[in-house]
């Protein structure tokens, strides 16, 4: 093999590869802190009566096509725990109250719109993006249907239209992006007759929650769910019973998204690891080939 040729070509390759990976690391470091305009919703589960008006409003605003009559059922529907579906971006479930059985707890589920969302980090084509106002947006035309976002989501939120052979979509709560970007609250928060959901800037909502706790000592858990869990989320919950009883995942503070991205960027850090591998391989090749050439000459 022509070694000079090899070195020349190898050098060219390394330089172009280096430029590429340099661009990669630069892109990866952006977007660390949460913008102050990030919106959120504070869900006070102690106020919810299970009327499902939020579900009805969500169905309407997103044109999900469920019949109106479906939402009038506030008895039988609660016999089974429901998950968010491709045609139901939010669902209310009823949970037994272990401290006061006369007061069941109703909990609304939807996308949490995480601050540093796993789905956004996982998406291979950037079809999921965290927008400045806090919503995790889905861009349908980019999506290749790999469903890695669903694997990544710690809340089992994104759903996939498995039944569509062509153009299946990821479906999930949009945080009513068309409404909130115009300064209006989400359809569900607007429809709620009990004021369960407080819509506003995320930072303010934390204050609201703390104040509620101060005014009603002992009524609430000390933790505001998703204030800090796994890096925090736009949708936060308050409850009077342990969140575990409400089947709300209580995640540790360490964010798996950060773990994964640290590993990913560690591998490419300033290109040192890949270049080291290339260097070691190239040098070994050179040394070992020369050694055997010497042996051949003997």
């Amino acid at each position: 093999m022509d070694r000079r040729e090899f070195l020349k070509k190898g050098g060219l390759f390394l330089i172009s590869g280096g430029a590429l990976a340099g661009a990669e690391t630069a892109m990866a470091s952006e977007g660390a802190a949460l913008p102050p305009e990030t919106l959120g919703v504070l869900v006070d589960t102690t106020l919810c009566i299970g009327c499902r008006e939020c579900e009805r409003a969500c169905n309407k605003v997103n044109s999900l096509g469920k019949p109106d009559a479906y939402f009038s059922d506030t008895e039988k529907i609660f016999e089974k725990k429901r998950l968010v579906e491709t045609d139901a971006f939010t669902v209310v479930n009823k949970f037994e109250n272990k401290t006061d059985p006369s007061k069941p707890v109703f909990v609304k589920r939807q996308c949490m719109h995480c601050n540093k969302a796993a789905c956004v980090s996982a998406c291979i084509v950037g079809a999921l993006k965290k927008s400045k106002n806090g919503a995790v947006d889905y861009t349908e035309w980019k999506c290749i249907g790999c469903r890695y976002c669903m694997m990544a989501c710690p809340f089992t939120v994104p759903t996939f239209e498995f039944s569509r052979p062509i153009q299946p979509r990821i479906r999930k709560c949009t945080f009513c992006q068309p409404l909130i970007s115009k300064g209006q609250p989400t359809a569900c928060a607007d429809a709620c007759p009990q004021g369960v959901m407080t819509f506003g800037k995320r930072a303010d909502l934390i204050e609201v929650a703390r104040e509620k706790m101060l005014r009603n000592p002992g009524k609430y858990n000390e933790m505001i769910l998703n204030e800090k869990n796994a890096g925090g989320a736009s949708w936060m919950y308050m409850a009077g019973v342990p969140f575990e009883h409400l089947e709300l995942p209580v995640l540790p503070e360490e964010n798996p998204t950060v773990m994964s991205e640290t590993l990913m960027h560690g591998v490419f850090k300033k290109l040192i690891p890949p270049l080291t591998i290339l260097g070691v391989l190239g040098t070994s090749m050179w040394i070992f080939t020369r050694k055997s050439e010497d042996e051949d000459n003997e």
């Binding site: 998950l83 890695y148 798996p256 994964s260």
Partner: protein
């Protein structure tokens, strides 16, 4: 390499053996079901994937496990061309061809599994690059490495056809042109192949480890026996070990199926590296479990812990112990058995990491693949073996004693 041996197409073997016919039947069944999949989508009952279990065996087996088995290509390239161990030369080509088909079928598996398979090219558009995504890195490196594998395969094509181009009928006029193109290709590849080899090994190190990083992000949905931040190095170490095992197994199986001689001298020598690579993997895995204080989890008595015991002790520790003995390394049967055992264990490890360990909230029941998923999965593996057989009979892959008369 022995002076009297040269890679040549295998001759004098009937193509359609009962085994080959069985492969064709499996492939036909898979192809038929795949048509159904494209008509109705990947919903129940075609697959048992759901909103709660979004990934099934098409990702776990046909992507992760098959990519791991395809490590034979880069490990043997490193052994022969980086560390210049030319005594393994006879094993290199079969392992390259197997790796080439493994990686090709990774791509095919994605075309079956993706919901919007026809948009797979979005991954290559720089405007859509999402560099935080582990899956993105896997996709890029797999495509780059697949290119490398085709380049590494091309010398076998050149060898076969240069000086022998004989196009049928009206295409005869292009004989000279084709010959010329092949010769140019041969020259270019010959001068640059070292770059491809080195880069191919780099791509493999990157994406084999990233296949592990893929499952880091569902951290809180994963069983502690498989989830660790050390998944990337574990996946890389196991890829090296399983790559050598599959090189050994493929060589032995090829000799058995085509009745050529077993490369026992080279294989026994190569097999001496197996206890080291497998042992290293087992060691790191145990240390990781110990550091995370999860060693006890394997005795917890759940189904998952039982699967772990099978994977770890039967699939990994047993072949490790077996391969410590030179009697095992020198016997074709035992060597094949032990390396095959480790290959299956790593395949099981990938399935466990992607499926068994996955414990999403709100899960009702477990994921178990549907008949369609299983048939399509095995049809792809059957096609892989079938294509290997075809290539071995057409191209100079297997080294055989040189014929004097030619």
């Amino acid at each position: 390499m022995s002076a009297h041996e040269k890679p040549a197409p295998v001759e004098g073997v009937k193509f359609l053996t009962p085994g080959t016919i069985f492969l064709i039947m499996v492939m036909a069944a898979g192809a038929g079901l795949a048509v159904w999949r494209y008509i109705v989508g990947i919903d129940f009952p075609i697959t048992h994937q759901s909103n709660v279990f979004p990934w099934g065996i098409w990702k776990a087996v046909n992507v992760a496990a098959i990519a791991a088995i395809g490590s034979s290509g880069f490990t043997m390239t490193a052994a022969v061309h980086i560390f210049n161990k030319h005594k393994y030369h006879n094993i290199l080509r079969p392992s390259l061809v197997i790796a080439m088909f493994c990686y090709t079928f990774v791509g095919i598996a994605l075309m079956v599994d993706l919901g919007r398979y026809y948009f797979i090219w979005h991954v290559f558009l720089p405007v859509m690059w999402q560099v935080n995504s582990a899956l993105f890195e896997v996709a890029m490196c797999v495509v780059c490495y697949l290119t490398v594998l085709y380049v590494e395969f091309s010398p076998m094509v050149f060898e076969r056809f240069i000086g022998r181009v004989n196009l049928p009928g009206p295409l005869k006029g292009f004989n000279k042109l084709t010959e010329f193109i092949l010769k140019i290709g041969n020259t270019i590849v010959g001068k640059t192949i070292a770059v491809f080899m080195v880069c191919g090994i780099l791509f493999c190190c990157l994406h084999q480890s990233t296949l592990g990083t893929l499952m880091v992000i569902p951290a809180y949905k994963m069983h502690p026996l498989w989830w660790t931040k050390a998944l990337p190095p574990l996946f890389l170490l196991s890829a090296v070990a399983v790559g050598l095992c599959s090189a050994v197994a493929v060589s032995l199986w090829t000799s058995y199926a085509f009745k050529t001689k077993y490369e026992m001298k080279a294989l026994s020598s190569l097999a001496r590296s197996l206890p080291i690579t497998i042992g290293l993997y087992i060691g790191v895995r145990l240390i990781d479990l110990a550091l995370r204080d999860q060693l006890g989890a394997m005795w917890e008595g759940s189904t998952r812990s039982h699967v772990f015991l099978v994977e770890f002790f039967i699939g990994m520790v047993l072949p490790f112990i077996m391969l410590l003995f030179s009697a095992v390394r020198k016997s074709p049967g035992l060597l094949f058995f032990s390396s095959m055992l480790f290959i299956l264990a790593i395949a099981l490890n990938r399935v466990n990491t992607y499926i068994t360990a996955y414990m999403p909230p709100y899960a009702v029941g477990h994921y178990f693949p549907s008949i369609t998923e299983i048939v399509i999965c095995f049809a792809q593996i059957a096609a892989l073996i079938f294509l290997y057989r075809v290539v071995v009979m057409i191209f100079p892959v297997v080294s055989q004693p040189e014929k004097k008369s030619a």
